[in-house]
Each structure stands twice: as structure tokens, then as C-alpha cells.
């Protein structure tokens, strides 16, 4: 059941991104989609809705980039509870730091050692 829900929710979130690119008349690039999803995730998370979605769909909610926004908001909220303003400002990045660092290191190494296509 966990697997099916993850598949369904993850799939539906991706379809929303596809519709954004296909149905809007102005040029929506992948960058716009990613920025919109992070922003949307951050806001939805504030209402406590995204936590429930993660409980329901697991990686179906954490892997789409809305999950990144969710981590930022939850980090800011938790940080504020623990350390006030300093926690508010640092919590989001702290919560997402592992992913960003890994992407930077992996991206850097790949960019150095692989040849660009074409």
C-alpha cells in the first residue's frame, strides 16, 4: 500500500508540473517549475498539510521538489522554537544542507570528469 500511494502521489505531483509547462501560454522552463514547486511546498508546509502528505505517501511527497520547500519551512519553524530568531534564519538551510552539499560535490566532480555531450 505504501508503494502504491508513493507512486500515485509522486505521479500526480509530476503531472501538475507537466500541465504547468504544457498549458500555460508564456514560456515555462524547468527552472520555473522547480522554483514554483519549492515555493508551493514551503507554503503548504506552513499549514501543516505537507506533514500529513508525507505520512500518507512517504517518498511520493519527499522526493518531488515540494518536499524541499517543506524541509525549509519545517526547519525554520523548529529552529524558531529552539533558538528564536537565529534558529528561524538558520533552520531551513540546516534541514536541507545534506542534500545541497551532496549535489554540489557530486555535480562538481561529474562536471570535472565527464565530457559535455555534442
Amino acid at each position: 500500500m505504501d508503494f502504491l500511494l508513493s507512486f500515485l502521489v509522486g505521479g500526480v505531483i509530476c503531472v501538475i508540473g507537466q500541465l504547468m509547462m504544457d498549458l500555460t501560454s508564456f514560456r515555462v522552463t524547468p527552472a520555473h517549475v522547480l522554483v514554483s514547486f519549492v515555493t508551493a511546498g514551503a507554503f503548504i508546509s506552513g499549514f501543516g498539510v505537507y506533514d500529513k502528505l508525507v505520512e500518507l505517501a512517504g517518498t511520493g511527497a519527499t522526493l518531488p521538489l515540494t518536499g524541499f520547500g517543506h524541509l525549509l519551512t519545517q526547519g525554520a519553524i523548529e529552529g524558531f522554537k529552539q533558538k528564536g530568531i537565529l534558529g528561524l534564519l538558520g533552520g531551513g538551510i540546516t534541514n536541507t544542507a545534506t542534500g545541497i552539499s551532496v549535489a554540489v560535490v557530486a555535480g562538481y566532480i561529474i562536471a570535472l570528469f565527464f565530457k559535455p555531450k555534442g
Partner: protein, 147 residues
């Protein structure tokens, strides 16, 4: 023949091929769902090893970022994106791809302005808008007395 800009825009809109929306959505759904399904499999595996829920989600994201980076380096990921669209853009693998792909493409511009800068061509805006929104949300919650 002189035509004004609006007229031209309208004509372009008319002639421009319409994207096969339904087909694109089905492909995005299947691939996006499949990526998340694979993540769920790995998640359950990690939980079985006694990792906490939070750590398991983090490790799944890390593994997927690494896989995506390698697939982007070999050029496979970008080929797959052309087929599956948002199904491979929206997941965190798409985020990793958006970092590696421009960095690789512009590497001849140097280690600072090429690789260094282009790693954050898309990740930069994502992080910027992510941080801004999360802070706004937290401040709104504080204002509402919910934090």
C-alpha cells in the same frame, strides 16, 4: 506586408505545434510515480536496517541525487527528460540534473565562472525562493500566533 506585433504573436500561437498534453501527462505520471516508488523501496530497506524515518528520507534523497548526477554526466538523463518531461524534472533527481547539466556544458568557461557559477543556474533561484518563502511562512505563522 507590415503586421503588428500582436497579430504576429497570434499567428505564431496558431501555427505553433500544440504539445501532446495527454501523452506528456501520462508519461510524466508514470515516470514520476516510478521514481517515487523506487524511493519508497529504498526507504523501506533503510528502515529495515534501523535508520530513523527522517534519516531514511535524507539518505533516499542523497542516493537519488548521486544517481541523477551520474546519469546526467553520461547524457542519459537529459535524453530521458525529453521523453518523460516533468516526471523527471519535478523529483529531486531533476534538481540535481539542473545543477550538473549546465555546469558540465559550460565547463570550458573555467572552474569559477563555468563550473562554479553554472552549478547554481537553477539551484540558485530554487534556494533563494525556497528560503524567502519559508521565512515568510514562518513569520505569518508567528503573526497568527501559531508559532
Amino acid at each position: 506586408m507590415a503586421i503588428d506585433k500582436n497579430e504576429y504573436q497570434k499567428t505564431v500561437e496558431k501555427i505553433k505545434p500544440r504539445p501532446p498534453v495527454l501523452k506528456n501527462c501520462v508519461l510524466a505520471f508514470l515516470m514520476g510515480g516510478f521514481v517515487c516508488f523506487l524511493g519508497e523501496v529504498l526507504f523501506h530497506f533503510l528502515r529495515g536496517y534501523g535508520l530513523s524515518e527522517k534519516d531514511s528520507y535524507t539518505v533516499v534523497s542523497v542516493v537519488f541525487i548521486l544517481i541523477s548526477a551520474v546519469l546526467t554526466g553520461t547524457g542519459i538523463y537529459d535524453d530521458l527528460v525529453r521523453i518523460f518531461g516533468a516526471g523527471l524534472i519535478v523529483p529531486i533527481t531533476g534538481f540535481a540534473n539542473s545543477m550538473v547539466s549546465p555546469a558540465l556544458e559550460h565547463k570550458q568557461e573555467g572552474l569559477v565562472l563555468g563550473v562554479g557559477a553554472k552549478l547554481f543556474t537553477v539551484a540558485g533561484p530554487v534556494v533563494i525562493y525556497g528560503i524567502l518563502s519559508s521565512l515568510i511562512v514562518a513569520i505569518i505563522l508567528r503573526g497568527l500566533g501559531k508559532l
